[in-house]
Structures are given as structure tokens and as C-alpha cells.
């Protein structure tokens, strides 16, 4: 025990002292705790708080010498690569964007587009890998996104709060609508949702003329509202669409086939099962045929199999499937 008291514990204290010194030095170098804070005002100060907090922008970007992340472009004036701070740079980028697209683009439009649709005009030399800031886990509200836009514009640009908040341009308004729709659907990412939809739903459902016909056509599904879509995914049997009822067919040998009736002709019917297999049954062999309102051909365990993110992404994607105007149809 003597050894422990006289030699081992002093040794431990020295080691712990070095550990604390390293922690202290690193903190001196890079700064203290990172507090997440939500913006209360649509202002550059509110945006700055979001940038260095809840928005987690600092994870990939720096502002001049502030911060050390380099995954995304530096938003301040920094070296030869970034001679202009973000507000002034946005004016230049917007001009390039306008020339390329042939439409009017303001600096605010450019910044809002970068936040709402980051893959649209990626800075050369950087990957299209920015997170969707209005989706979980970041989940910025429209108000917070406006605040970040104000902060970006305040970095060497002309801060026009009307263009950001009360009187946005048509382009900006379009992105604001997108963010609102996505936020209403739990803040999912519609782009990711399109991928999830293609992988999991398109084999059975039609969307804008593409896909399978086992399930209802989902073009314009947003008209049915978020609650209906949500329920259809989580509890498909509770919201069966007319014409897509589940049939239970029992033949004379007692075999039971459950699925969607996809063909009904004089002598036979086709039942498409949940796994996509099509079973043709002669009508003369049918002992009993009935619809079952408690069952859906659609798998009822999707919510269990999907991650929260998948679910939110797909909801936001479906909420963007607006009915087309009659003329267009």
C-alpha cells in the first residue's frame, strides 16, 4: 500500500496533469464549448448564432480566420482563393448564375438557393455533399434560414432585409415554399426522399407516368394532405384507396390467396400478391371470394423497417407531388 501512496498516485497525478494540460491547450487553440442556440430574430446576429450553433455550419465552413473547417468554401475573406467575403461574393456568383440560367438572380437568391438546394450550383473544387439544413437533425426553420441568409449577406454585402424577409423575389419565394413544404413534412429532404421512393415504392406505384400499377397512382398525392400520406405509409390498411382493396380468394381445394385483383375476365382472375407474384385462378375453381378491409397488399411494416430519416424524406418528397393544372394534364 505504501508503494501506491508514495509512488503510484503521484505518478497518476502527473499523468492526469498532462492530460488536463493537453485539454486546456487545445481549448485555448480552438475555443470553448459549442452551445446550440436558436435564432429569435431575422437578423445578422441571429444568423451568426445559428451559423456557429444549431445550424452546425461551422462543421464544414469557416469565416475568414474564424473556425478551422475546410470541407466547404470559406465564407469570409481568406487567402487568394477567397478574395471576397460571402456577401460580396454572392453578388458575383449571382451574376454568373444569371448568365448561365438566363434568368434574373440576386445575391439573396443565390444564398437562399445555396441553403435550399445546395447541389444546384456547387462551388468549383467542392463536392455536392452539403446537408439539407431544414431536415433533421439540423432542422432549421424558415425563420432561421432567413436569419442565416441575413448573416451571410452582412459579410461584406448589401443587407436588404426586405429582399430576405418581407418582400422576397420570385426565385427566393420559390425556395421558401420548398422549405415550408419540407418542414411541414417533418423537415425531410425531398431529394433523398426521391431516392427512397425509387428504391421502395416505384415498383408498385406510378408517379408521373412511371412505375408499377399494383398500387394507386401517386402523382399529385400531396392534395390528399400530410395526414393521409403519413397514415398510408404507417398503417396502409386504414386508408385503402378505392379500386385497390385486398381480396381473399379461397379455392375449392382450400388454398387461400390474398392480394390485389389486377385482372378480371370471363373465366379467370389475376391476384397480385404482396411480393409481386401474380396468381391466375379459374373462376370455376373459386369457392369463396371477398374483400378484406383490414388488410392491405402494401407491406404494413414499412415504418418499422424505415429509419426516421427515410420516413421524413419520403413524406417531404410526396408532399411536393402537387396535382398538375388541368391544361398541363
Amino acid at each position: 500500500m505504501n508503494v501506491v501512496v508514495t509512488r503510484v498516485f503521484p505518478f497518476l497525478l502527473v499523468v492526469l496533469g498532462v492530460y488536463l494540460w493537453i485539454g486546456y491547450s487545445v481549448t485555448q487553440l480552438i475555443g470553448g464549448g459549442k452551445r446550440t442556440s436558436a435564432a429569435v430574430d431575422i437578423s445578422p446576429e441571429g444568423g451568426e448564432a445559428i451559423y456557429w450553433g444549431k445550424g452546425r455550419c461551422f462543421t464544414c465552413h469557416s469565416v475568414g480566420g474564424q473556425g478551422s473547417a475546410v470541407r466547404g468554401p470559406n465564407h469570409g475573406q481568406f487567402g487568394e482563393k477567397f478574395p471576397l467575403p460571402m456577401g460580396a461574393r454572392a453578388v458575383e456568383r449571382a451574376k454568373e448564375r444569371a448568365e448561365k440560367e438566363g434568368t434574373k438572380f440576386t445575391a439573396v437568391d443565390y444564398i437562399v438557393e445555396s441553403l435550399a438546394s445546395p447541389g444546384a450550383y456547387v462551388v468549383k473544387g467542392y463536392k455536392n455533399e452539403m446537408a439539407v439544413v431544414y431536415a433533421p437533425p439540423i432542422s432549421l426553420s424558415l425563420k432561421e434560414i432567413k436569419a442565416v441568409t441575413a448573416y451571410m449577406m452582412s459579410l461584406g454585402g448589401d443587407l436588404d432585409m426586405e429582399a430576405i424577409d418581407t418582400a422576397p423575389s420570385e426565385v427566393t419565394q420559390k425556395f421558401y415554399s420548398k422549405i415550408k413544404a419540407a418542414a411541414a413534412a417533418g423537415g425531410g429532404d425531398p431529394g433523398e426522399g426521391a431516392v427512397v421512393f425509387e428504391d421502395n415504392c416505384l415498383d408498385c406505384h406510378t408517379l408521373n407516368g412511371e412505375g408499377g400499377e399494383v398500387g394507386p397512382d401517386l402523382s399529385g398525392i400531396s392534395a390528399k394532405g400530410l395526414k393521409f400520406i403519413s397514415e398510408s405509409i404507417l398503417r396502409p390498411a386504414k386508408s385503402l384507396t378505392k379500386g385497390f382493396e385486398t381480396y381473399v380468394v379461397i379455392d375449392k381445394e382450400g388454398r387461400q390467396t390474398i392480394g390485389l385483383k389486377t385482372r378480371d375476365e370471363a373465366g379467370e382472375i389475376d391476384i397480385t400478391k404482396a411480393n409481386g407474384d401474380v396468381v391466375t385462378i379459374l373462376k370455376e375453381n373459386i369457392k369463396q371470394i371477398k374483400t378484406d378491409e383490414t388488410k392491405s397488399v402494401m407491406p404494413d411494416d414499412l415504418a418499422e423497417a424505415m429509419t426516421v430519416k427515410d420516413y421524413q424524406d419520403i413524406l417531404s418528397f410526396l408532399m411536393l407531388q402537387k396535382p398538375k393544372p388541368k391544361a398541363e394534364q
Binding site: 500500500m1 505504501n2 508503494v3 501506491v4 509512488r7 503510484v8 498516485f9 505518478f11 497518476l12 497525478l13 499523468v15 492526469l16 492530460y19 488536463l20 493537453i22 485539454g23 486546456y24 487545445v26 481549448t27 487553440l29 480552438i30 470553448g32 464549448g33 459549442k34 452551445r35 446550440t36 444549431k54 452546425r56 461551422f58 462543421t59 464544414c60 480566420g65 473556425g67 478551422s68 473547417a69 475546410v70 470541407r71 470559406n74 481568406f78 487567402g79 487568394e80 482563393k81 455533399e129 446537408a131 433533421p136 437533425p137 413534412a185 417533418g186 403519413s230 404507417l234 415504418a303 418499422e304 423497417a305 424505415m306 429509419t307 426516421v308 430519416k309 420516413y311 421524413q312 413524406l315
Partner: protein
């Protein structure tokens, strides 16, 4: 039931009842708490005005330190007991018993701290815990039941050691019964492996359960033939219960990071099983298990070091020197695969959320990872130093001293590269001096993953090489493998070919992989195929190494395979990693897997050749146990301190990755403590926990010493 023949039953029973009450109380809280949902406003409370987050953090850290020790030690205690049983060497049996004796107090402390942690969580974070209990209530019941199982197994294992030491065979019918049970469990395992049972299970969960629960239980039943082997089976059960408890608790931590089955409003609509086997549950469990083993080994090693330093006789020194050596060996064995388990966990974190992944390596925790790299690098360097110090007790080992400087150079260079960050916060002047770039023109490459992957492999190979030198320290003339009989040749061939098959199966994967599966265009196939060709080359060299070993040129075979593997993993794939990063970055993870597979294949093949190369070799003298410098014992202690600090640091990162979410993306932390603390706060918090844990260890070791003196 809890009484033992040393008259310690009363104390044990009291301790047992005490923790049972704690666990039962905690379970009652789980069950009585009404399920709450994520959308409800969170309620937070404080205890005597303390910062609740830091209080829970501290208690969780203490619980995990003691828990890791309690789960880690039985893993190798049983293996050592089996070695003693097979070799019929009571020295190993005594050592295994001594390791187990350290557990008794630690176990009760773990349970007490676990109860305290549960009370703190339920009282200070009622909404969050209500939500978790609503989802995991079944798992929590299971957790409590397994605790009973582990308690019975532990006390039976420890207190029944001498009672169950007879090697008098059981009646043949009883032996047959155990064998039949073993075969049934084994058959169940085979069906389970092929998905005939539990077909919907995730692959990683399935293999975790198969390898850590079903297979050991089957083997344990098959070996039962007397009381001693029954005792080993109890030890196996102790590990099965302990690992299962850890896996259940990890599923909660995993769910908090990668929740599944939750709808848009935060309501849980999935099944308990889906919540249990969430994406991160198994990667965390694998990483933690290896970490526990290394940690348990080193804490036991620190016990041996303290005993060595205070030993009064040479005999005592010899015993504790040997114990320290075994402890360090156990730790190294667990440390070697640990970086890969970390890579697997990190990859899954990225898969779960790129935001969480970015935050880990490039955000709030990038500098914490640099501290972690310093600690892990120190672990390897100091472990090597301990091995080199150990060579002084081996007659004839001085022949190999000349290699040490080269190994040290390789370790230091690798360590330096591992530590190099991709970029640093710089002043405007410094940026100007670097041509306006935030990156150093050369050092920037060393901060990227290909460089780090290469040097991690090199560090492991260097450590393995140190071990090989240590092993052959006192060995002189080798006995021809051809003269060792068919068994030796068959073993080298079978094990060697298995190692090569491991390489080849991945070569086939690389040669047939569709680039489209990685979202790459068809013309990027060349970057994948090159890895396949390299693996075929590695396998061919492996075959040559086997042939050389069978022709009694085993040393040449070892050198060849080691050199080629080092070149492939550290040089070729190190450079190829940069090419891939530029042209086909998704392939980078395949590069890492290829490096890992070649390394493992090399460790297996070179080890099996080594075993037979020096079997019955002429010895230059016995190991002079006890003839170790005191400095080496401080190295052992330092290893323990470092791994403990590192565990605390990694816990901070894993938990902190969720940012201001209790449950990532589902339930936000709206308390006043919802922020990521600085690295200084982390070192303060972890440092305090380490200090208290070490004081606890000193107390446990002192108690263990008192008990063993009484026994003597």
C-alpha cells in the same frame, strides 16, 4: 447458496441482496414510468443545484469503468483457465483465479453505480427516460433478469473454483448428455448462421449472437466431462451473460444515435426487436467488447505492477512479473483489432448521418480525435516498450536488440503521421506563407484517411514483429517441421489456406464488383479491380510462404509474407488510397477493408508458422521472471492510465455526436446543458472519473490482498 467454504458467505449475501435491491428498484422505475412521447415538452430537474448533465456523465463514466473491468476480466480469465486445464499446469489455474478474485468487489460497485445512474436518469431526465422506457421496457426486464444470471454465474465461478476442481470423470451417460446438449446447441447455431432461424435479423447482429453466445455455449457443453470442465462452462456462461447485458445496454445507446421505427411525430411505431438491433447497436457492442478486454487486461496488469513494485521476495516478483506480462499480452491482442472495430463503427456513424459523421472527424470532435490519436499511439508505443523491456529477462534475446531501433523508428513515424491533422487554425500571415492555402503543401496529405489507414496497419505490424522477436528470444535451433509429424504440416496447411481464403474471397469481391453499386460510372472499375489484383498477389505470396514453411524454410516464408504485407498495406494501398480518393472516393472504404484483411491474414499465417518453427526448439535458458526493471512496471501503470483516459474521451465523443439531441433527430435536448463542452471540460470530467476509479481500484486490490492473505 452464496456461502462459501471460507466463511465469506454472510458478506457476499449482504452484498448480493444490496445490489439486487438496487437493480430491482431501478427496474421498478423503468416499468412504473408511463411512456411519454417525443413531442411532449421535456422536463428537466436538478439535484442540489448541480449540473444534471455533468452529474449523469460522471456517474455513467464511473459505471462504465467498473463495468468494463467486470466484463473484460472474465473474457481472458476463462481462456487462461482453459490453457491451465489443457496443459495441466496449476500455475495458469492460479493466475486465472487471481484475476477473478479482483472481480468480486468491482462487481458490486458496478451494480451500485448502475443503480445510481438509473435513479439519476429517471429523476433528472424524466421525459426522456419515460420515452426510452416506453420503447425498451421489455429489453429492460431482460437486462435485469440477465443480471441475476450473471450474478449467479460469477459467484459460482469464483467461490466454486476449488469445489469444482476435480478431474474425476463423470459417469459416461452424464458425459453423453452434455455432449448431446452441446450438439443440439451447435446444430441450432448452424441453422441460425444460415438464417433458417431468425431470418430477418441484421447480419451483424446474427454473427454477434452466433459467435459470442451460441458457439461458446455449444463448445462449453461439448467439453464437459468432469467438475473442472463444468467450472469452465460456468465461466463461459458468465461471459455470455455479461456480453448479453452489455449488448442490451448498448442497444439503448445505439438507439439514441440511430433511432428506428419512429414516425414523424416522434411516436414509436416499430417493434422492440427493431429498436434493439438499430444500426449502431452491434458496431458499438463489438468496439466496446474489444475495448473492455484491453481495459480489463491493463487494469489487471496495473494490479500486477503494483504488487511487483511492493514485492519483498524474488518469488513474488516472478509471479507478478508473469501476471503483468500475460495482462499486457491480453491487452495487445484486443488492441490490435480495435482500430478496425473503430473504423467499422465510424463508417456506420457516417452511414447513419453524414452530419454526425462530419461532426465526429471534422467538426466539434476533430481535435478530440487528435487527443485520442495521441493516447492510442502512446498505448502501442508503450506496449512495445514493455515487450522490449521484457526481452531483458530472456537469455539470448540480446541477439534481437538491434531490430528495436528500427521498430521504434517505424512506430514514431507512423505515430507522427497519425497525429497530423488535415488542417490547423492559422493566422493570416501563416496562410500567406503557405501560398494562400489553409493546407500545408506536403503535410496536408498526411492528414487524410489513406495516410492514417496505412500507418495504423504499420503500427500493428510493428507491434506484431516485436512480439515475434520476444517469442523467439531464448530459442536457438529449430526442429525441422518435416520432422514434427503430419499434424504440424496439416495444421500449417489448413490454417494457412484459411488465411489465404480470407484474402481470396475479398479479391473475388473486388474483381467482380459493379462500380454502379458504389454510384460510380463503369470506367471507375479499374480502381476496384486493382485492389483485387493486389489481393490475388498477396494470396499467391501466402501460398509461397506455406510451401517454404513445409520445406523447412519457415523463417524465409515469414519474412517474405511480412514484407509483402507491409508493402501492400502501408505503401501500395497507402498511395492507392490517395488515387482512389481523387478518382473514386467511395472505393476508399474497400481499400481499408483490403488492408485489414491482408493484415489479419498475415498475423494468422505468420503466427501458425512461428508456433511450429520454434516448437521444441533448443532453449538458451528459461525466462527469468522477476528480472524486470521497475521502469517497465511504470510503463504498465501508464498503459492503464492512458487506456482509462481514452475510454472516457471516446465516451465523450460517442455521446457528444448527437449534439443537442437526446435521441438523434427525434427528441431534442432543450435543457440549459444542451451544448458540446470544450475539450478542457472533457479532460476535467474524465480526469476526475479516472482519479476516482483508480482510487476505487486501489481499494479493490487492497481488499483482494486482505482476502488472499486470510485464505493463505
Amino acid at each position: 447458496m452464496m456461502a462459501d467454504r471460507h466463511g465469506k458467505g454472510a458478506i457476499s449475501t449482504r452484498r448480493y441482496l444490496a445490489w439486487c435491491a438496487i437493480v430491482s428498484g431501478a427496474v421498478a422505475m423503468f416499468v412504473l414510468t408511463a411512456p411519454a412521447f417525443a413531442q411532449e415538452e421535456n422536463v428537466y430537474r436538478q439535484f442540489v443545484g448541480l449540473d444534471s448533465r455533468r452529474l449523469v456523465w460522471f456517474l455513467a463514466q464511473m459505471h462504465l469503468f467498473f463495468g468494463a473491468f467486470v466484463l473484460g476480466v472474465p473474457l481472458f480469465a476463462v481462456i487462461i483457465e482453459v490453457i491451465g486445464w489443457k496443459k495441466k499446469d496449476p500455475k495458469f489455474d492460479k493466475l486465472a483465479y487471481e484475476f477473478t478474485s479482483l472481480l468480486s468487489v468491482a462487481y458490486a460497485t458496478t451494480a451500485a453505480l448502475g443503480g445510481l445512474l438509473a435513479f439519476a436518469l429517471f429523476t433528472l431526465y424524466p421525459t426522456f427516460m419515460g420515452y426510452m422506457a416506453g420503447i425498451f421496457k421489455d429489453v429492460m426486464f431482460m437486462y435485469a433478469l440477465l443480471f441475476f444470471g450473471e450474478t449467479f454465474a460469477l459467484y459460482l465461478y469464483y467461490y466454486g473454483w476449488k469445489l469444482l476442481s476435480s478431474d474425476k470423470p463423470f459417469a459416461p451417460n452424464l458425459q453423453r448428455l452434455f455432449k448431446a446438449l452441446g450438439l443440439i446447441v451447435g446444430a441450432f447455431g448452424v441453422a441460425f448462421a444460415f438464417g433458417l432461424i431468425g431470418g430477418e435479423m441484421r447480419v451483424d447482429t446474427r454473427w454477434f449472437i452466433l459467435l459470442l453466445y451460441i458457439a461458446p455455449t455449444a463448445v462449453g457443453l461439448l467439453i464437459i466431462k468432469d467438475l473442472k470442465s463444468s467450472h469452465i462452462f460456468i465461466g463461459i456462461l458468465l461471459n455470455v451473460f455479461g456480453t448479453a447485458i452489455m449488448q442490451l445496454a448498448n442497444s439503448w445507446a445505439g438507439f439514441m444515435m440511430s433511432p428506428v421505427g419512429v414516425d414523424g411525430e416522434g411516436n414509436f411505431v416499430g417493434t422492440v426487436w427493431e429498436a434493439f438491433e438499430n444500426i449502431l447497436a452491434t458496431p458499438i457492442a463489438v468496439h466496446r467488447m474489444l475495448g473492455n478486454m484491453a481495459f480489463g487486461g491493463l487494469v489487471a496488469g496495473s494490479y500486477a505492477a503494483v504488487k511487483f513494485l511492493s514485492a519483498k521476495t524474488m518469488e513474488e516478483k516472478a509471479h507478478y512479473d508473469w501476471m503483468g506480462y500475460i495482462s499486457n499480452l491480453v491487452a495487445i491482442a484486443a488492441l490490435i483489432p480495435l482500430p478496425f472495430a473503430g473504423y467499422y463503427l465510424g463508417r456506420e456513424v457516417y452511414s447513419t448521418s453524414a452530419i454526425m459523421g462530419n461532426n465526429m472527424m471534422g467538426g466539434d470532435f476533430s481535435w478530440t480525435f487528435i487527443i485520442q490519436a495521441m493516447l492510442v499511439g502512446s498505448l502501442f508505443v508503450i506496449s512495445n516498450y514493455y515487450l522490449w523491456s521484457g526481452m531483458t529477462r530472456i537469455p539470448g534475446a540480446e541477439r534481437y536488440y538491434k531490430f528495436i531501433k528500427y521498430i521504434l523508428l517505424a512506430l514514431i513515424l507512423s505515430f507522427a503521421i497519425w497525429l497530423t491533422p488535415h488542417n490547423l487554425p492559422l493566422s493570416g500571415q501563416e496562410v500567406g506563407e503557405m501560398g494562400g492555402s489553409q493546407f500545408h503543401p506536403m503535410l496536408k496529405y498526411l492528414g487524410l484517411m489513406p495516410a492514417k489507414n496505412a500507418v495504423v496497419n504499420l503500427i500493428i505490424l510493428a507491434t506484431f514483429f516485436s512480439f515475434l522477436l520476444y517469442r523467439r528470444g531464448n530459442m536457438l535451433e529449430v526442429v525441422s517441421i518435416r520432422d514434427q509429424g503430419r499434424g504440424a504440416r496439416i495444421t500449417i496447411l489448413v490454417v494457412g489456406l484459411a488465411a489465404i481464403a480470407l484474402v481470396l474471397q475479398y479479391a473475388v469481391t473486388m474483381l467482380t464488383m459493379d462500380p454502379g453499386s458504389l454510384d460510380l460510372p463503369a470506367d471507375r472499375a479499374q480502381y476496384i479491380r486493382m485492389i483485387g489484383y493486389l489481393l490475388v498477389f498477396e494470396a499467391a505470396v501466402g501460398v509461397v510462404a506455406i510451401v517454404l514453411a513445409l520445406m523447412d524454410r519457415g523463417k524465409l516464408g515469414q519474412v517474405l509474407y511480412l514484407a509483402v504485407t507491409a508493402f501492400n498495406v502501408a505503401v501500395f494501398l497507402g498511395v492507392w488510397g490517395f488515387v482512389v480518393m481523387e478518382k473514386a472516393s467511395p472505393v476508399l472504404r474497400n481499400v481499408a477493408v483490403a488492408q485489414f484483411i491482408q493484415l489479419i491474414s498475415c498475423l494468422i499465417l505468420v503466427s501458425v508458422i512461428d508456433v511450429f518453427l520454434f516448437k521444441r526448439a533448443k532453449s538458451l535458458g528459461e525466462f527469468q521472471w522477476g528480472r524486470m526493471s521497475n521502469r517497465s512496471q511504470y510503463a504498465l501503470l501508464l498503459l492503464t492510465f492512458i487506456i482509462t483516459m481514452n475510454m472516457g474521451l471516446m465516451g465523450f465523443i460517442r455521446s457528444g455526436l448527437r449534439g443537442d439531441w437526446h435521441i438523434f433527430g427525434v427528441m431534442r435536448d432543450t435543457s440549459e446543458w444542451a451544448y458540446t463542452p470544450s475539450n478542457f471540460v472533457m479532460t476535467q470530467q474524465v480526469g476526475a472519473a479516472v482519479l476516482l476509479f483508480m482510487i476505487g481500484c486501489a481499494f479493490m486490490f487492497w481488499l483482494g490482498g486482505v482476502a488472499s492473505k486470510k485464505e493463505e
